[in-house]
């Protein structure tokens, strides 16, 4: 088999590359191609062309819009994956078991009794120290605001019930991302304006327009962190925006 594999490697794996780009190879073929591509520039280059072809085919498929919260799920999962790696135990179970056995054996031997008592004393001291450290960690955690990012969902008012959107707010950041969909088209002398509301005071966060599909987005900016505001509202204003809202609210949401 090695001889055959070697022969295939020398002759390249051109015939399998289209299937690899489509992801349809069976396990044996897959292993062969992956291994070959590690060291064959010619086949790797061929593969990239087929992979780009498969990518182009994706452009003309039905392209559903994922739910708005998928973005935050993706980021959350990436964090969880990291957490998993960081919190993994470094000792295999079998080694932990052998440690328990060592302790048990220690108490069974008369000579080891003193050592055993001392060991227990050290464990007790370490345990108390651990509790104190945990308390300190909890106190520090309590001082840290939870959640790095918050999605504020915006709901359409009676004026535009089909419209929806969200503002992505980052902790202690003066900038955030706004996206709206299905917003009514405006006349050429009008634009949407987002208002950042705190204690009833409204501050402009920027103006934006929407395309013919009613889709629009904006990098919202303020002089204070966006998560310090109570709510967001969007109104229709004259082109360029107004110092204070003059139109009716189209969208709104609370932090």
């Amino acid at each position: 088999m090695d001889g055959e594999t070697g022969l295939m490697s020398e002759e390249h794996v051109f015939d399998l590359l289209p299937g690899y780009a489509l992801g349809i190879l069976d396990q044996e073929e897959l292993s062969l191609v992956k291994e070959h591509l590690q060291r064959c520039d010619v086949c790797r280059s061929e593969y990239v062309a087929y992979a780009e072809t498969a990518e182009q085919l994706a452009i003309i498929t039905t392209q559903p819009v994922p739910a708005p919260d998928l973005r935050s799920k993706v980021l959350q999962k990436a964090q969880q994956a990291e957490g998993y790696h960081q919190s993994r135990s470094l000792l295999p179970v079998s080694e932990k078991m052998s440690f328990r056995q060592v302790l048990r054996n220690l108490f069974r031997q008369p000579v080891g009794l003193v050592v055993g008592v001392l060991t227990l004393l050290v464990i007790l001291i370490l345990g108390i120290n651990n509790i104190l450290l945990r308390q300190q960690v909890n106190e520090l955690h309590a001082q840290i605001p939870t959640g790095y990012m918050q999605i504020v969902h915006l709901e359409g008012s009676n004026l535009a019930p089909e419209t929806s959107g969200y503002v992505m707010v980052f902790r202690d950041q003066n900038n955030g991302s706004l996206a709206v969909t299905h917003a009514p088209l405006l006349s050429e002398d009008q634009q949407y304006q987002i208002w950042l509301i705190r204690d009833g005071v409204r501050t402009s966060g920027g103006v934006f327009s929407v395309n013919e599909d009613g889709y629009g987005n904006l990098m919202v900016s303020a002089e204070q962190p966006l998560d310090s505001f109570d709510a967001f509202g969007i109104t229709i204003e004259p082109w360029g925006g107004s110092p204070q809202p003059t139109g009716e609210k189209v969208l709104g949401g609370e932090l």
Binding site: L22, V48, E52, Q56, A58, R71
Partner: protein
Amino acid sequence: MDYSALDDASLLEMIANTYGKLNVEPILNGALGTLYDRYGRLVFSVAFNLVGDIETSEEITQDVFVRTCEGAHGYRAQLARVSTWLVSIARHRAIDELRRRGVRSEQAIVDWVDGERQEQRDGLPVAEGPEREVETTLQQQTIQQMLASLPADQRQVLRLAYFKGMSHSQIAATLGEPLGTVKSRIRLAMQRLRDALQDCGMIEISLD
């Protein structure tokens, strides 16, 4: 920091340098979030067109971006575009899911859209927004013409491979055709499409 101003390769480099490290979550989130903004829908669509349900497609999308983080160190910009890489991961992950289930998805999607069929599927709104620009539309029309020009038997096997994720042998069994014939048709179909796309300048011509 304006992550949207960075190119894909720079975002991946940023992800590679921050993934798994403490106290750099804002940078990782910024870079990964921007990459998702660019390709999240494409990845989700690739998965949805194979597995056919929203929940699994969301799970696959999450996995693809986690794998992207894990593999960011190994990405080489000169070998493939980030979008190509993401689509490839998404297809392999979705087909793995189909094979794990052991049953074939019965989703309604079994063919490429013809440009006019932008309709609702399973309650999901289809393509809309700024992506639907003139350039994209022309690009889509070109690819549709290329597909239409394929012989019917080549298009048939390509469709089963692309939307059902069937292996060569599964397609051969489904169609009652010899395995070699199926392999040959898929290879010829992909070669024709690749050559046509290269002729149009829609994909790079290899210099190796």
